[in-house]
Amino acid sequence: MENSLAISGLSASYGHVLALQDVSLTVEPGETVALLGTNGNGKSSLMKCVMGLLRPSAGSIVARIDGESIDLVGLATEEIVGRGVILVPEGRHLLPKLSVEENLYLGALRRQARPHIRRNLEASYDLFPRLAERRRQAAGSMSGGEQQMVALARALMAEPKILLIDEPSVGLAPIVVKLVIDAIAELKARLGLTVLMAEQNFHQAIRVADRGYVIVHGSIEFEGRSTAELRENELVRKLYLGG
């Protein structure tokens, strides 16, 4: 299962506002790569470009899935999801009036995921026992942390080949952030997924990431080939570590 993602020279804008400028990054098979940056620096725009929700003005996004190279630029979101590139979106985007289990079933809407629905549902409940207790509850009535768990489990239901996670910690209490990051680490350990995670919480992000990029004003300003390199970088110190 050699699944990887290569983005090169990617630029995108909203009208006249430039969101991404010549961004290049790679995620190798089985790696978890962090995309670090504070609010409004282009993390979500990058995720949207990969998912076909925002059309880039230049550059390429190539996913290598099960040995096949696919250029994602120009494909419809449904096709990109169909290939197994799955996003856990910022703000979670659960269907609030549907139950937890109905949300999870919808994760398996992708045709390739349907045969494995039972196995993946069990795996989801095994990973998040809390969701098993609340499977009949409306997703919108759960706490923020629980909703994030539903969003992660829903992505798991889709049998992701490449998993994108956008700001899993946003709006959550610190102790809940830790729980969510633990869950992502567990997911990674169990499934060996290829993951790109956008996050502004540096300390939590480097607990699961193998390496990372720092994005500032839509450009990659630093590439850390290990978490140690990230920690020692001047820019990271300035932005996150108060030094």
Binding site: E78, L94, K97, E102, L106, G107
Partner: protein, 290 residues
């Protein structure tokens, strides 16, 4: 003084009538409740369905219930086409609320005129023999012309409910109005889902039309009588809940019938709106809103 027999008959016939209303409202619950499409022409489509069943009965001697089997697929296709037009002209541009409403109003009037040109304004009815027989249980009469639409509507609602709650497409339809982006991120095209759901709502209207022909004679503008009821039921039922729709419809049928006995038949049409206003004041999400 109102006798027990009269009361019992009024309640039973109210339940039967209400059950039929649920069949008429089922499609509107999907289009209005789940898709946010204010298809005010929904009752008009029910009347088109009734005329469809009437023509099939006259030409080929088909019973209205058999005719429904032919009406449903044709109406499904018509629903796909209507949504295509609606989506291109309004939904995609984002000005679907007021202009969309005007579109469906227009559709309703044009449809009525076409029916008048084709069939005239006379009442049309089915020649099915059971339309004039009745089962008696003690003092209570169960006229088949009411019982069959009641049971038929139950089948319509059960089938639609199973589809929505048990299939992938059905569950996605339940979610599409809540968050279209979320549905896209799970690999489905929201526009396609809405088109399918809208077509189903029109197909249900066609089926309900065949039941209407069993219940009573029809004329081109008879759908107007149902506009208030249908939208009241969809809202009362909790916007998008089919079981809620059934219960709300049966309650409305019983209250309407009791009102016409105690206060006179001319008060009956006021009941649905009175009931609606009262409920919205007390419980804005409808009786069975999620």
């Amino acid at each position: 003084m109102v006798s027990f027999d009269l009361l019992a008959n009024a309640v039973v016939s109210g339940v039967l009538l209400g059950g039929f209303y649920a069949g008429v409202a089922a499609g509107a619950t999907i289009s209005f409740g789940l898709l946010d499409i204010a298809n005010i022409a929904h009752p008009a489509f029910v009347v088109f369905g009734a005329y469809g069943a009437f023509v099939l009965g006259q030409r080929f001697g088909l019973d209205p219930l058999v005719a429904a089997l032919f009406v449903v697929p044709v109406f499904y296709l018509a629903g796909l086409a209507v949504h295509q037009v609606y989506h291109r002209a309004f939904e995609r541009r984002g000005d679907d609320s007021m202009r969309g409403l005007a579109f469906f109003f227009g559709l309703m009037f044009v449809g009525e005129v076409v029916l008048i040109l084709l069939f005239g304004v006379d009442y049309r009815y089915t020649s099915a023999a059971y339309a004039s027989t009745s089962i008696k249980i003690g003092p209570v009469a169960l006229p088949l012309r009411q019982l069959i639409p009641f049971l038929g509507a139950l089948v319509i609602l059960a089938a639609a409910q199973l589809f929505l709650s048990r299939t992938f497409i059905g569950r996605a339809i339940l979610g599409v109005a809540q968050d279209a982006t979320a549905i896209r991120l799970m690999g489905a095209d929201p526009v396609r889902l809405k088109r399918i759901a809208f077509a189903i709502s029109i197909a249900l209207a066609g089926a309900a039309g065949a039941l209407l022909l069993v219940l009573e004679p029809v004329e081109p503008a008879i759908g107007r009588e149902f506009i208030g009821r249908v939208f009241a039921i969809a809202v009362l039922g909790g916007m998008g809940s089919l079981p809620g729709t059934w219960i709300a419809a049966v309650m409305l049928g019983v209250i309407e019938n009791l009102t016409s006995i105690f206060a006179g038949a001319s008060w009956a049409p006021a009941v649905s709106f009175g009931f609606l206003l009262l409920t919205l004041a007390v419980r804005p999400s409808g009786l069975f809103g999620r």
